[in-house]
């Protein structure tokens, strides 16, 4: 059974069957990662360009590793120091890379919809590695994979996303994917960080973290953009930590075992205490490992569709 789309642009509108297929396929790739020789041949002879127009370390490394584990040839591209800084448009950059006979393009871009635009002007499969505040589908897929691995299912679980929902692509992709998979989804943060229309996406909205914790199964804690947001979206980091920071006392008060996810990189003792990040309930490092397996699954399934 192939995927319905030849691109991975986002989880908004993706079917339950497709998400299920990716998660199930990732299980076998996850198993590959435990072998002494962690390389399999399905993408041998394929060339994948990683076009990162925005700084990224872990997503880029995760994709690169996934591509190499699948035996693909990998072409790296960083926006800084490339022709983009000389004023070349996205279209021209992409067409030039495609002219080198690239089969797939993985793209990170600061503008929402940039990979969607790209998918209309080039022939290669396009994988969205994060577009502005829109979507980051492979992150949400690896989050769902990790939740399922830890808790055995997604359907019926209560997953709460904490932090700046308004500007978060991780939040959006998780909301679309989790709702499709039958989870109860809530968001929590100060009103300045929750879109006015959040409820219309099908989520419950909370502004006080202690109100939501007693029913939560998994908590996805978003990174606070320290430089950008302090003083504008919330008054001070101290205040944010005191009212939204995930601490052991808070979790104990909630009185249940809550699985803690974080897309990274974490700001210790801002959105999450060091103690919680390193605790037995934290699956932050499993997310990193699972990310490689999930991205292998996405690349493999898209390639298989051609």
């Amino acid at each position: 059974m192939p995927l319905h789309s030849r691109h991975m642009l986002g989880l908004d509108g993706m079917s339950r069957e497709d998400i299920q297929l990716i998660l199930d396929t990732a299980v076998s790739f996850r198993e590959v990662l435990d072998r002494p020789i962690k390389k399999v041949p399905p993408l041998q002879g394929k060339t994948i360009a990683n076009m990162f127009f925005e700084n990224s370390t872990r997503t880029r490394l995760s994709f690169e590793l996934a591509e190499r584990r699948l035996s693909a040839d990998v072409l790296g591209f960083q926006a800084t120091g490339s022709s983009v800084s000389k004023g070349e448009t996205l279209k021209d950059t992409a067409r030039n890379i495609e002219a080198m006979k690239v089969d797939m393009v993985v793209m990170r871009h600061s503008a929402a919809g940039a990979p969607h635009y790209l998918s209309r002007v080039i022939e290669a499969n396009v994988i969205n590695a994060g577009d502005g505040g829109h979507e980051h589908p492979t992150q949400a897929l690896l989050d769902m994979y990790t939740i399922r691995e830890r808790l055995g299912r997604i359907e019926g679980l209560h997953v709460c996303i904490v932090g700046d929902i308004s500007h978060s692509r991780v939040a959006r992709s998780n909301i679309y994917g989790l709702i499709t998979m039958g989870a109860r989804v809530s968001v929590c943060g100060p009103a300045t960080m929750i879109p006015r229309e959040a409820a219309e996406l099908g989520v419950e909205v909370y502004h006080h973290i202690d109100d939501v914790l007693p029913t939560v199964d998994a908590l996805n804690v978003l990174r606070i953009q320290l430089e950008r947001d302090a003083g504008r979206l919330f008054p001070t980091l101290r205040e944010y930590h005191n009212y939204y920071g995930i601490t052991r006392q808070r979790l104990e008060k909630a009185g249940r075992a809550i699985t803690i996810l974080h897309p990274g990189p974490i700001n210790r003792d801002v959105e999450i205490s060091a103690e919680v990040a390193d605790s037995e309930h934290s699956v932050i490092l499993q997310q990193v490992l699972n990310g490689v397996a999930v991205r292998m699954a996405v690349l493999y399934l898209l390639s298989a569709r051609n």
Partner: protein
């Protein structure tokens, strides 16, 4: 020029006329009006119930010349206007150099007279402030004397309340309105579409309707305090419509216009990231569009104007957030107005003609178009029943940035006559 228009439906709101008749035009003037006319030497145009109306004016057009001739020129813009059924346009001052000096007003008027034998009257709207920077008043008296019919920093708001007040007081001496692009700047910083559920879904930074309403509210206070004339450009929100309605009821000199895209499309059109759905103000929610239609019906909205904003193909072939704001509108305005407003019963044919001809001319203090024997012929002729499909490649405008390509419309221009010249579509 010698035309005999046979069996046209003459719709003239000024004289409340709506009847089938013949019109004989000789040497740019209306020679005779009446049924069953025969003129031996005239070119006979059989119209069979097609409408003849006082010439349409689009009071909000970006002609782009001088400075951005790769997007549009006075000639291509006037040709697009004629093809769209307009005999006059107002051109906005965000050119390079901007229309903040009388020399630019004169240059534009001179070039417009040379285009299409002067068929399309071009009325410059001059800048309110020097270089449209919002800091120092432009030489409003000199600009008015040179032929500017109104003042606006369109593209940007006149943001400083003190400058706005003084501009309105000064412009009032010359009986010119100040046309406002209402937008609160900090609230819309980085915004690329309407703030709402679609923007939330797409993760595109939003521009809340409140950002338009705030400036309109302030400006209405200034209009009340100064007694000056205020015209709100491209009104797009339910909130602004309610405030303009109340201001009119109060007797203030407040008028407003709406674009065809704002009464036709909602922000749902942005799904798919088509950069031809990006304009400022942005496409709003369904409830805003409904409020705009209500305001058209009850007369709160005086004029339909396109905010024709040509951009080159390459400029729009970029990421949504990077793309420039604006779409072309001259050649789809009549079809959209007929299809979306007249056929749906929002407006009668006669009130459509008012909003595309009579009212905007009154707002701008332009002479009335009188359809009577001995008067200059300034006519828009269109087929209210013709069905057609928008083909952007067929546009006379130099730019094709329209979200309406492929759309089926009813109502199509047939031709225009003005200043002794004619254009047949």
């Amino acid at each position: 020029m010698h035309y005999l228009l046979k069996n046209c439906r003459l719709v003239d709101p000024l004289t409340r006329r709506d009847e089938e008749t013949d019109i004989h035009i000789a040497d740019g003037k209306i020679a005779r009006i009446g049924r069953g006319l025969t003129v031996s030497e005239a070119q006979v145009i059989e119209l069979r119930g097609k409408v003849a109306a006082p010439g349409f004016i689009d009071m909000h057009v970006h002609l782009r010349e001088p400075g951005f001739e790769y997007k549009e020129t006075i000639l291509t813009g006037c040709t697009a206007a004629a093809a769209g059924g307009f005999t006059a346009v107002c051109c906005m001052p965000n050119t390079n150099p901007p229309i903040d000096d009388e020399s630019v007003v004169r240059l534009i008027k001179e070039r417009a007279r040379a285009a299409l034998d002067g068929l399309v009257d071009v009325y410059p709207v001059a800048a309110v402030t020097k270089e449209r920077k919002g800091e120092h008043l432009a030489p409003l008296a000199e600009l008015a004397t040179a032929g500017a019919v109104a003042f606006s920093d369109d593209g940007d708001p006149v943001y400083d309340a003190e400058i706005m007040r003084r501009a309105m007081e000064y412009a009032a001496m010359y009986d010119r309105p100040v046309i406002q692009h209402a937008q609160d700047m900090p609230m819309t910083k980085g915004g690329a579409m309407n703030e709402g559920v679609v923007a939330t879904r797409l993760g595109i930074p939003g521009m809340p309707p409140a950002a338009e309403d705030i400036v309109v509210a302030r400006d209405i206070h200034i209009a009340r305090y100064t007694g000056s004339r205020y015209h709100l450009a491209h009104m797009s929100t339910a909130g602004a419509a309610a405030m303009v309605r109340a201001a009119k009821a109060e007797g203030l000199h407040v008028t407003c216009e709406v674009t065809p895209h704002h009464f036709t499309l909602t922000d749902e059109a942005v799904m798919g990231f088509d950069t031809n759905t990006k304009m400022n103000p942005p496409l709003r929610s369904k409830s805003d569009v409904e409020a705009i239609r209500k305001a058209l019906r009850d007369g709160t909205i005086d004029a339909i104007a396109t905010d024709h904003a040509p951009h080159s193909y390459d400029e729009k072939q970029v990421e949504y957030q990077t793309a420039p704001f604006g779409i072309v509108g001259l050649e789809t305005a009549l079809g959209l107005a007929m299809t979306e407003l007249v056929l749906t019963g929002v407006l009668s044919l006669s009130s459509l003609v008012e909003k595309m001809s009579t009212n905007p001319r009154r707002i701008l203090n332009l002479p009335e178009i009188r359809i009577a024997e001995g008067q200059p012929a300034n006519l828009t002729i269109f087929d209210p029943a013709a069905e057609w499909i928008v083909d952007v490649q067929a546009f006379k405008s130099k730019s094709k940035n329209s979200p309406f390509g492929g759309r089926r419309l009813t109502g199509k221009p047939v031709g225009v006559i003005n200043n002794g010249a004619a254009y047949w579509v």
